[in-house]
């Protein structure tokens, strides 16, 4: 172990930076879970796969996997848009027909879609880890942005943090100050009542999926760049952890997802750094289970509705 105080503290700082980066990525994914859950009370298990899709699409477009290599910015834009579309399609094909079915059916469908998409990616891109070709990525991303002592913060980390913060602020603005946001909140309160008030529920749900999946896609691209690794099973673990973050923050709450993501990212990095690196994933699971058992409403969630019927 590092011995001097300076080393200890710079290690701590470095881990903190790593944790915040990871956390902001989790937050971006978690928002997708939380928005969908808030609106239609469904854990969209396939959300992790959308994130994976974002990474793969941007990789493919940039590296010319589909025949043409596009400029970075264009490729990323297209990837995010396709992800948003994929989210909408997912809802349209898999979940919408089950709106009136028991929740269990929708949940199982979500798992089925997750398996399907993961294997589809395996079929298209193969199981290997893919890396973005260095040549097409803006070079500055890999340069250190800040360096004090041993602690290095790369531009990529800065970009990830900034992107996450900006997107979250925009999202909050959308949810609180637009017609769409108002409709979303109305549906979250009471779907039937919202429909009676003239809210087009299906369309709002589609927009919700589009927004959530778009953010998931952004997270996928950022992760693909950050670790320089894109592979079909990446969505599974990240998805679960992001879900844990959403639960921790209180599912259904967007600020909760942000906070949960941050906490989870830090917990994971510090857990791996200070406790045991092989139980890094376990920490996420353990937090998730504990939160569900002890405080299912999470940090910011509404208290879970009374289990009793209303008579």
């Amino acid at each position: 172990m590092p011995t001097t105080l300076l080393e200890q503290s710079s290690l701590f700082l470095q881990q903190f930076v790593n944790g915040m980066t990871l956390g902001s990525i989790y937050a971006l994914i978690a928002v997708g879970y939380t928005m969908v859950y808030g609106v239609i009370q469904l854990i969209n298990f396939a959300h992790g796969e959308i994130y994976m899709l974002g990474a793969f699409l941007s990789f493919s477009l940039v590296s010319g996997f589909f025949g043409v290599g596009l400029p970075f910015v264009l490729a990323v834009t297209i990837a995010v848009l396709v992800c948003a579309l994929a989210g909408v399609l997912l809802d349209l094909v898999a979940y919408r027909p089950l709106r009136r079915s028991p929740r269990l059916a929708a949940l199982i469908t979500a798992i089925g879609m997750s398996i399907f998409l993961q294997n589809l990616a395996l079929l298209i891109w193969g199981g290997q880890i893919r890396s973005f070709p260095r040549a097409v990525i803006p070079v500055f991303l890999f340069a250190p942005a800040l360096q004090f002592g041993e602690v290095v913060v790369s531009w990529l980390q800065v970009v990830i943090l900034l992107t996450a913060v900006i997107l979250m602020v925009v999202l909050q603005l959308i949810v609180h100050y637009t017609r769409l946001g108002r409709a979303m909140r109305a549906i979250a309160q009471d779907q039937t009542a919202a429909a009676l008030m003239g809210v087009n529920v299906d369309r709002v749900v589609s927009y919700t999926f589009a927004l959530g999946s778009g953010l998931g896609g952004v997270a996928g691209i950022l992760v693909g760049l950050y670790y320089n690794a894109v592979y079909p099973t990446m969505g599974y673990l990240a998805g679960i952890k992001a879900f844990a973050a959403a639960v921790l923050g209180g599912i259904g709450s967007i600020p909760g997802a942000i906070l949960g993501g941050g906490i989870l990212g830090l917990a994971e990095v510090f857990g791996a750094g200070y406790i045991s690196s092989s139980y890094g994933d376990g920490i996420a699971y353990a937090i998730m289970i504990l939160v569900i058992l002890v405080k299912p409403a999470g940090l910011f969630g509404r208290p879970s509705s009374n289990k009793l019927y209303r008579g």
Binding site: A105, L123, Y285
Partner: protein, 318 residues
């Protein structure tokens, strides 16, 4: 009476099936014989697992995404007891089942109050933690080195080393499990489970101790999973954490979704269709596609939920 139960009470239905299953190892299958028997053994094993899983989501209506954890616990219990103490399979089977039941109760007791999705997530997390422990605690489980060289099953001192012998062994276990599950389903206990699945509050109001019956369901389900695991370890003669991936839980779930949740014969049918199918697909699909053949399973789940949520052999009361 359940439509489902006709399979178990109507001689005309079950006798031919039983005969086919019983004489299967002696059918003239030529050189493919041992291979077919192995696949049949695997199918029967998954039938046992499907029956076990069915108890929780099928009977009590709680989605269990971590069933493979109990399968793993059973397999590792059997593997460790065999490697270190060389105990007989017949001693190990009940011990493994007990150990499984213990962990089933430990997992279930705190999550009694949870509803659908949160329960599913907790079960998932729990089994992932179990597998993580198995992977990392080298001194106990040898972690990713696996435990090779486990002794074969034996009966009265006779080592069962022929494929047909293990086939009959798992067949025996399956019949045992079926016997228990069918009996319980049609009893006061099974009725209580169905009541809980339908309406927990109404169940409580007619005097059913919901917590207790849920716990019994968890214990029974986990015990069956662990029983299958114990057999699996002795049959495979090697256990490794990679054998108990999350995917296995989904596969078992797939079996009961296909057959119909809560339907005992449905779970059998699901395994009968899907387990050989995975083998057939492996053979007929080219290599690049065969690794992605689980795509079909995902699709299957989605399609079933969309068009036949009650499964191929739905549970219906006549």
């Amino acid at each position: 009476m359940h439509l489902d139960d006709r399979l178990f009470h109507d001689k005309k239905l079950y006798l031919p099936l039983l005969i086919v299953v019983l004489i299967l190892p002696w059918l003239p299958l030529g050189q493919a014989g041992p291979y077919v028997i192995r696949i049949a053994t695997l199918t029967l094993l998954y039938m046992v697992l499907a029956q076990g899983l069915n108890v929780v989501p099928g009977f009590t209506g709680l989605l269990d995404l971590g069933y493979v954890g109990f399968f793993g616990i059973g397999a590792y219990t059997a593997a460790l007891l065999t490697i270190h103490y060389h105990w007989s399979l017949w001693l190990i089977l009940p011990l493994a089942a007990l150990n499984g039941a213990l962990w089933g109760v430990l997992r279930g007791a705190p999550s009694l109050r949870l509803t659908d999705d949160y329960f599913a997530i907790v079960t998932f997390g729990f089994s992932e933690l179990i597998i993580l422990v198995i992977k990392n605690e080298l001194w106990l489980t040898r972690g990713p080195m696996g435990i090779p060289g486990i002794a074969r099953p034996e009966l009265f001192g006779v080592v069962l080393d022929q494929p047909w012998q293990t086939y009959y062994l798992i067949l025996f276990l399956l019949l045992l499990v079926l016997w228990v599950v069918v009996r319980i389903r049609n009893s006061r206990l099974g009725r209580a489970w169905f009541a809980i699945r339908e309406d927990e509050i109404a169940a409580e109001c007619v005097g059913i101790n919901v917590a207790r019956y849920k716990i019994i369901a968890f214990a029974l389900s986990a015990a069956i999973g662990a029983l299958a695991g114990a057999f699996y370890a002795r049959w495979f003669r090697f256990v490794h954490p990679d054998m108990f991936k999350f995917w296995e839980s989904i596969l078992i779930l797939c079996l009961i979704v296909l057959g119909g949740m809560g339907s005992i014969s449905g779970a059998l049918l699901g395994a009968l269709l899907l387990i050989p199918l995975t083998e057939v697909l492996r053979i007929i699909l080219p290599s690049e596609f065969s690794s992605a053949r689980y795509l079909l399973f995902g699709l299957l789940i989605v399609v079933m939920m969309r068009w036949r949520p009650a499964g191929l052999l739905p549970v219906e009361r006549e």
